[in-house]
Symmetry: C2
């Protein structure tokens, strides 16, 4: 095997009430990374040979590219463990961006996950998906200044994934509710995660915190029960959403339109500006998407709409050659 | 049918991280209430004829007794709905306290639940268990100044019960994990819920709040997965437990002893002073209970130990006559 081509899906993190602890994967869109064993003798480590679909914005420098950093960390780890097998290997990555940068759909995570899965497969799959998470998190550190797992973990594993704790890392794969449809609209404007973090308050009232963890608990129950109505009302977030919504033109109108069109719940995807809405049928998901699009159109804000179910298996190997 | 005798179980609320939103029912101990149709013609409403096991501390006055208030509210509601069937009925309640007052095991809730279930059965079971919750909550209002549902709901329904919201009331019955054993130790001292509320902070840091709702989410996942280890580590509560533990002599030593004896997790039951620990076998639950008892004994603090599984069906009709 000389090359592996992998698709990694977009993800919705900060799922309403479950700020910073929960994320889920979509079937589409996503990024594709092809990893190839370098044909040049004596070349070691990871090299990025091309990036497409990013408008020339992402660095080819391995040390500054999220996918490069993660794949290099994985190769280093394997080399340290087994120098004979991995010490002389050079990897070349080709990155095809399907996700817009800074949209709140886990764009950096998708590239990172596609890269580590492709590299791992190419090297004989020595690590499990769960074991790949810490390597993918190193890419997140480069992309947004914090080694979050709430995008990379669902992109790797599929379904909903809960990050209970970072020290120690405790990640719990939840089911992928089969009845759930997701309408995600991405306004064509960019929000940096760092900026979206700045609007957050440092403290929160005890009453709001209790209401929030009641909702988070109900969201997890809804996921296990495959109960879309419960998931929808459990999204209610009175702490983070009101702050971040200020950064997204038309958010409250789009949310109202989504709920009127039959959404069970609606909130901000990641740190925005994408907005996601939950419903229980593909038809409803389309109407909801159309309603949100109309709201943004009225504000002269162009956008891209995606209708998807929850991804069941995470990143997917497309081809081996 | 002239009388119905009902057992309602003790409950553990404020389950570690899930402060104010989650409770679960034990198989034992509990309270028993017998409801009887008054033989005296022309007597209406609810009358408490005797209370035993309370050391004479609970009021016989219906309007000041949690069980009396709840049963009267239920009878009033039914009378309002159907004056012909219920308007002329007088109910007599006999209360047998099995639970110590102010111990953090839902003592007032158990009497209240036993009373409303007994009254409802005696009147032909016009309401479901879920529909009885608001009436039982009226008793809680009398007992502790707030109409909480996190003890009455699990005592009525069994298993773990989540209170997502009070306005509107949104109560979600979670499963009763069959692998779970509970050791509950009640030191012989009394803590008033009101006093235990006073030590709570009004605000909490965002970081702690996020960690808490990650744990609450994991606790619900653990309940659905029947995963005792996950439930145990998800109990971690860095907000409420550190404050309330100050009111319970020996809490931290008892908790350490429980964990050393094999508990998956340990925290304060309700607003204390009872302490509960989770484990995955009856044998472990006994050792854990013994270890906690020893700690309290060393402090010259007498206590009562209960070993129980999670109650599966809630309050139980013992006899109809």
């Amino acid at each position: 095997m000389n090359s592996v081509r992998v698709f990694a899906p977009a993800t919705v993190a900060n799922v309403g009430s479950a700020f910073d602890v929960l994320g889920f994967a979509l079937d589409a869109p996503g990024d594709i990374v092809e990893a190839r064993i370098s044909a040049t003798l004596g070349v070691r480590g990871v090299r990025i040979v091309s990036i497409t679909g990013d408008g020339g914005r992402l660095p080819l420098d391995t040390a500054r590219n999220t996918a490069g950093v993660s794949a290099a960390a994985l190769l280093e780890h394997l080399t340290h463990r087994d120098p004979k097998s991995y010490g002389e290997i050079g990897l070349e990555l080709t990155i095809e961006k399907g996700l817009p940068i800074g949209s709140g759909l886990g764009s950096s995570s998708a590239s990172t996950v596609a890269a580590v899965v492709a590299a791992n497969e190419l090297l004989g799959a020595p690590l499990s998906r769960m074991e790949l998470i810490p390597f993918a998190m190193q890419g997140e550190q480069v992309a947004c200044g914090a080694a979050h797992a709430d995008n990379v973990a669902p992109s790797l594993l599929g379904g909903f994934v809960l990050i209970r704790s970072y020290t120690p890392l405790d990640i719990i794969a939840l089911p992928a509710p089969t009845k759930l449809w997701v309408s995600v609209i991405s306004p064509h404007l960019e929000l940096r995660t760092q900026d979206a973090r700045k609007v957050l308050k440092r403290t929160v009232s005890m009453d709001l915190a209790v209401a929030q963890w009641g909702n988070v608990a109900a969201l997890v129950a809804g996921i296990y029960r495959n109960d879309v109505a419960l998931m929808g009302r459990a999204l209610e977030d009175r702490i983070v959403e009101p702050e971040r919504a200020q950064l997204i033109p038309g958010f409250f109108d789009a949310k109202e339109a989504a709920l009127l069109a039959g959404a069970s719940g609606c909130s901000i995807s990641g740190s925005g500006p994408s907005i996601f809405a939950l419903s229980d049928s593909g038809e409803k998901a389309q109407s909801i998407g159309a309603a949100m699009t109309q709201v943004l159109n009225k504000l002269d804000l162009s956008s891209t709409l995606h209708i998807s179910r929850v991804n069941q298996e995470g990143a997917q190997v497309l081809a081996r050659a």
